[in-house]
Each structure stands twice: as C-alpha cells, then as structure tokens.
C-alpha cells in the first residue's frame, strides 16, 4: 500500500456547485505535481467526470462492473493520455446508485490505495445512498460551496453528517466567487462563509466563463493558462500536496492585480 495514500471525498449537498469541476482540475493538478492520482466517480447513473476529462470515448468498464466481478479493477481504469499517472474509475451510466453499497465502494477504494497516492472521490449531489457510498472509504473530505445561502445551508447539513460518520478532517473550497458582487453586498464574502461553517479554508475559486468552455471541450480548466479559476485549482492541488500557497488576490479592479494577472503571477 502506498504510504501516502489518501482518499478524499469531494462533496457539497447541493448540486451544480462545481464538485466534478473541482475533482477534474485538482486531480490533474496533483498529477502535474508528480503524484499518482485516481478519480472515482460515484455518481452512478449521472456520470460527468469522463466528459470533464475528455475520456468519455475510452470507457469500457465501470465501478459497478468491478463490484459485480465483471471486470478487474485495473481493466476498468481509464488513463489520461497526457498524464498517465492520472486514472479515472468511471461511474456506470445505466445503473442506479442503490445497486452498490458503501462497503463495496470501500473495498474498491482500499484496493486503489495500493497503487495511488491520492484517490479523489466525486460524490453525487444529495445526502442519500450515493453520498453514503462516497464517504464510506474517505479519510477526509472537501466541501465545495457557492457563496449563496442555499449552498451554505446544505453544506452545513453535510458537515453534520460527515462528523457523525467520524469524518472530522473537512476542508472548504468556496467556488464561483464574484468579487464585484461581494463588494456591492450582493454576495456573501468568503470570510463570512468560512466563519459560518467553521472549517479550514482550502481554496477560493472565482467565477470564470472559461469553465463552461473547458467542460464542453473536455479539457479541465487547470490546463487553461489564461484562467483565473484554473490558477485557483492549481493552488488547491499544491496545498493538498503540502505546499504553503497564499490565496489569490481577487480584487479585479486594482491595477496591480490586473498586471499580476497579465503576467500570471497572481
């Protein structure tokens, strides 16, 4: 078993906050740093990670096939072409979440620990069976939150559920932050979200139109050198890797930050 192997569930409660986007980009970021990374899609019936990584045409087997013994784990992993240290274990698209149990997912993840340093588990939205499958094998969790009340309230509920499942190491990623709206008082600030949820802040990701483009092209936004969100995801990967990286300066309006952004040093 890899000594450093760590399984992290990326969850949120609410759907559409950017969990799969985070998993795809942070996973790729960790692979760029030289780690062996496996992304596990547990959103059975509604898989997305394959599309976000541009791997949808290379899927033969999936996690349900592994659990049912139809395929071996190694056969079911889809390797990234450019980054072979990054693998995807896809979810089944024509099955249901209820067809696998938390114990079975845990067995699969424990098997993956032998080969990978980081196992990122993409959780489905909601707090039902699919969520329980996604947290069963995790050592820690990353909560992706948008700075809006419905998202924060759902996340607060998820923190309670994670803690009751003895998953105490929970980090926060605040996604889709719009500094101008925060400045005008129309959006909750990152500080307020962090204070309300009272968990460690791992990353701040600004709203970025390039993310839509990236999920349509199958190239995670972290590969887009012009994307501010891509830079933020890269920083999250570095923090997970143990580096001490300062948070991005999101004050778009200042001349200094514009210059920094121009030269990709922010």
């Amino acid at each position: 078993m890899s000594q450093r192997s760590v399984a992290i569930t990326i969850t949120s409660g609410k759907g559409g906050v950017g969990k799969s986007t985070t998993v795809a980009s942070v996973g790729l970021g960790l692979a760029q740093l030289g780690h062996r990374v496996c992304l596990v899609d547990t959103d059975i019936g509604l898989r997305k990670l394959d599309l976000m990584l541009g791997l949808e045409n290379r899927i033969v087997y999936d996690i349900v096939d592994v659990i049912e013994g139809v395929s071996k784990l190694r056969q079911s992993l889809v390797r990234h072409k450019e980054y072979p240290d990054l693998a995807l274990l896809p979810a089944a698209q024509t099955r249901y979440k209820e067809e696998v149990s938390p114990v079975q997912v845990k067995q699969v993840v424990n098997e993956l620990r032998k080969e990978f340093d980081f196992i990122l588990i993409d959780s489905p939205a909601g707090i039902e069976g699919g969520f329980r499958n996604a947290i069963a094998a995790a050592d820690r969790a990353i909560l992706v939150v948008n700075p809006e009340i419905p998202s924060v309230r759902d996340s607060d509920r998820v923190i309670g559920l994670l803690e009751s499942a003895n998953l105490d190491h929970i980090d926060l990623v605040v996604n889709r932050v719009q500094p101008e709206m925060v400045k005008d008082g129309d959006m909750l600030s990152v500080d307020r979200v962090k204070n309300h949820l009272a968990i460690n802040l791992l990353g701040i990701v600004p709203e970025d139109r390039r993310i839509i483009r990236s999920s349509n092209t199958g190239e995670p936004v972290i590969l887009d050198g012009k994307s501010y969100a891509g830079k933020a995801f890269s920083n999250i990967a570095r923090r997970l890797s143990g580096e001490d990286v300062p948070f991005l300066e999101l004050e778009e309006g200042t001349l200094i930050s514009r210059i920094k952004r121009l030269f990709h040093i922010a």
């Binding site: 009340i149 924060v152 309230r153 509920r157 309670g160 307020r192 204070n195 309300h196 949820l197």
Partner: protein, 88 residues
C-alpha cells in the same frame, strides 16, 4: 398612500435584513432543530420567569436564535421594569 399600501399590504416582513443575518438565522434553525412552537413556549416561560423574579414585562419579547461558528446562541430581548415601579 392608500394606493401604495394596497400594493404592499400582502408583502411579508423579511426575516432578516442582510444575507449574512438571514444565513445566520437559517443555520441556527437547522442546527438546533428549533421549531416555532418550542420557541413560543420558551418565550412564554421567560415571561413567567420575569414575573417570578419580580419584573413586569413592558414591551415586545423577542427570542431569536443566532449562529456563530457552529454554535447556536439564543438571544432574548425582554423589556422589563421592577414590579411596582412607577410608569414613565
């Protein structure tokens, strides 16, 4: 003014003014599983307590749960004056 009121009379008072206050309120209710009936009962017990300790309640009593760093704080505002004190 009558016309103005006609359009506004259906509008409910907001539960909190800022998004932050609203979030605080929403999280408090969720975390403590507070239901309105319980809160009303709590409010009436506070009024009884004031009576027991020699205070007259002289205004609107409000009991508002608030959330701070995953802890719920119940803020009660009870305007009182000692029993028998002259009215202002």
């Amino acid at each position: 003014m009558t016309l103005f009121n006609m359009f506004n009379k259906e509008r409910e008072e907001p539960t909190a003014v800022t998004a932050d206050d609203r979030l605080s309120l929403v999280l408090s209710y969720q975390r403590s599983d507070i239901d309105e009936k319980k809160l009303k009962l709590f409010q009436s017990r506070l009024i009884e307590l004031c009576d027991d300790f020699g205070y007259d309640v002289v205004g609107q009593v409000t009991v508002v749960p608030q959330s701070k760093e995953r802890t719920t704080i119940i803020n009660a505002s009870i305007p009182v004056r000692p029993k028998g004190a002259p009215k202002e």
